[in-house]
């Protein structure tokens, strides 16, 4: 904590950031008590785009809930639909053909890279560098085009179905994806040249926003935030789902606990995702992309079901309580950034306001996903 924040004078003032503010990206508000340039207390205020998706899950059939999912986390929408597909398939005992699982992994990893690319551009923009955003969006645009060709939408994907995916990929998609893998493998070293070694960037990121493994555990933080503090935890490895066990990939972990470590984790993750996509394209089995005989009306047995996936921002899990009818009795959605942001108030105390905003950016927030 700063000397100022600890001083006896205690001349504090209140500062309101947001809900409409460029640094908070979507509509998030902070009630901040400041001591000069230092934060005494920064309380996040949520709910500005709360849409009550959980209630919507209760009053429509299982299949009717599909479009809601991608509208929560619009950057990691494939992971959200993946979690829901897994949940309902688990509850109903639906087997998914292998080719469909491979396609799911390919699309999910492309989506993860897309999300990280946007985060990369926005993070550097938050710190004051505008150019990398343009480079990142250029690369990201390639992914959006690829995903649009196979899923039909650019952000709010509804590509998965219970028992598979609705559309097979074309040869164009395969050649396009292979070209993209080459392209991004060249681009990421360029990003490192452009940004990672930059003195100003390092000044703003290194030793800022230190998060100990202990605080992360108390708040239930997951994803790159956890892996930036030396904890090797990734649902894809620790609780494997889909066909992830068949691929050879690493979980990047950095021990520094600071914003820069979280930055490096995500940069490395993009390369690992490329490896997964490449292997999936090489090994892609032939066969159907939809399970046969999936009932039109699903009535899972009574009880509750849980399914977790690794979204771009951490563990995304869903709990469905079924009462044996064609609608869920309760649908709980656990969004990763909700837990990741909840530690902000404790962690940002005593920080410079400018550092706190860079720190917040390193948590990679998507507000519609927190508010649900």
């Amino acid at each position: 904590m700063s000397i100022l924040a600890q001083s006896e004078l205690k001349e504090t003032f209140e500062l309101n950031i947001g809900p409409q503010h460029p640094a908070t990206h979507v509509v998030l508000r902070f009630k901040v008590v400041m001591d000069g340039e230092y934060i005494v207390k920064a309380e996040p205020v949520l709910g500005y785009i709360h849409r009550m998706h959980e209630k919507m899950g209760e009053n429509r059939t299982w299949a009717q809930f599909w479009p809601n999912l991608s509208r929560m986390d619009y950057l990691s929408a494939v992971a959200y639909t993946h979690g829901y597909a897994g949940l309902v398939e688990r509850a109903n005992g639906i087997e998914v053909p292998e080719r469909a699982e491979y396609l799911r992994v390919i699309v999910a990893e492309l989506n993860r890279i897309q999300s990280h690319l946007l985060w990369f551009g926005v993070l550097v923009m938050d710190i004051g560098g505008f150019t990398p955003l343009l480079y990142a969006f250029d690369d990201r645009e390639q992914i959006l085009d690829l995903l649009e060709s196979v899923t039909g939408s650019r952000l709010t994907y509804c590509y998965f179905r219970f028992g598979g995916v609705y559309n097979d990929i074309s040869d164009n998609f395969i050649t396009g994806t292979r070209a993209f893998i080459k392209r991004l493998r060249k681009a990421i070293p360029m990003y490192h040249d452009l940004v990672s070694g930059n003195a100003i960037f390092m000044e703003r990121m290194k030793d800022i926003g230190a998060l100990s493994p202990e605080i992360l555990r108390r708040y239930g933080a997951t994803g790159p935030v956890l892996r930036g503090s030396g904890i090797q935890f990734d649902i894809r490895k620790n609780e494997p789902y889909s066909v992830y066990p068949e691929f050879d990939f690493n979980i990047p972990v950095y021990d520094e606990c600071d914003s820069f470590a979280r930055y490096m984790v995500r940069m490395d993750e993009m390369l690992e995702s490329l490896r997964i996509i490449e292997q999936a394209l090489d090994k892609l089995p032939e066969g159907p992309v939809m399970a046969e005989k999936v009932p039109k009306i699903l009535k899972p047995p009574k009880g509750d079901y849980y399914f977790a996936v690794e979204a771009a921002r951490g563990t995304y899990s869903m709990r469905a309580v079924s009462d044996g009818t064609n609608q869920a009795y309760r649908m709980k959605i656990r969004s990763p950034t909700y837990s990741n942001l909840s530690l902000f108030e404790e962690a940002s105390s005593g920080m410079l306001l400018a550092d706190a905003l860079a720190f917040m950016s390193s948590l990679d927030l998507v507000i519609p996903e927190m508010d649900r």
């Binding site: 605080i215 933080a221 009880g303 656990r334």
Partner: protein, 180 residues
């Protein structure tokens, strides 16, 4: 993380809250046989406190513990001491039973996978349950959200105010008798 220890301590805790005449042996035998069958039977009559080892592939978690509402704090402490983390707190409105169910999802992020579910049922008219935010700081937001949407009162919570809903809301939308 010591899986056997967690199981043993939670089992002991759940047994403490059992009424004296509970016929435990019969149920234990059923659980061993077919998990789905045992589950189905329990659903028909209210479930007894106790620990069930669930089939991970069918359910998505390993241990399912039901305790009394006043024991959730102790359960959280047991789980915290073994290095697990809190993933979510949620509630279910069982309006037919005139009860709310509060569900705590714990998972282990340090290696070998373990998911523990702790549940407690509170009366729908007096939905009071102690807060666990002193053990898991992350529970603060989850409990606040559960109060906001379901109206379950977490006794001792530092800031039980509207969270996702606007400040002037006077309803709890996830209650089954809620009409917009």
């Amino acid at each position: 993380m010591d899986r056997a220890k967690i199981k043993q301590e939670l089992e002991a805790l759940a047994a403490e809250g059992l009424p004296e005449e509970a016929p435990q042996e019969v149920e234990a035998a059923e659980e061993g046989e077919g998990e789905a069958k045992a589950k189905k039977k329990e659903e028909e009559k209210p479930r007894q406190n106790g620990l069930i080892e669930t089939d991970y592939n069918a359910r998505g978690f390993h241990m399912d513990v039901q305790v009394n509402p006043d024991q959730v704090f102790r359960a959280a402490e047991i789980i915290y001491n073994e290095g697990l983390t809190l993933e979510a707190v949620t509630g279910v409105d069982w309006i037919a039973d005139k009860q709310f169910e509060v569900i705590y999802d714990y998972s282990y992020t340090g290696g070998e996978l373990l998911r523990v579910v702790v549940r407690a049922r509170v009366d729908r008219d007096t939905p009071d349950i102690p807060t666990i935010s002193e053990v898991f700081s992350g529970a603060n937001w989850h409990e606040r959200e559960t109060w906001d949407l379901l109206g379950i009162n977490f006794v001792g919570h530092p800031q039980l105010e509207r969270f996702l809903l606007p400040d002037d809301a006077d309803f709890h939308p996830l209650r089954k008798d809620f009409t917009p």
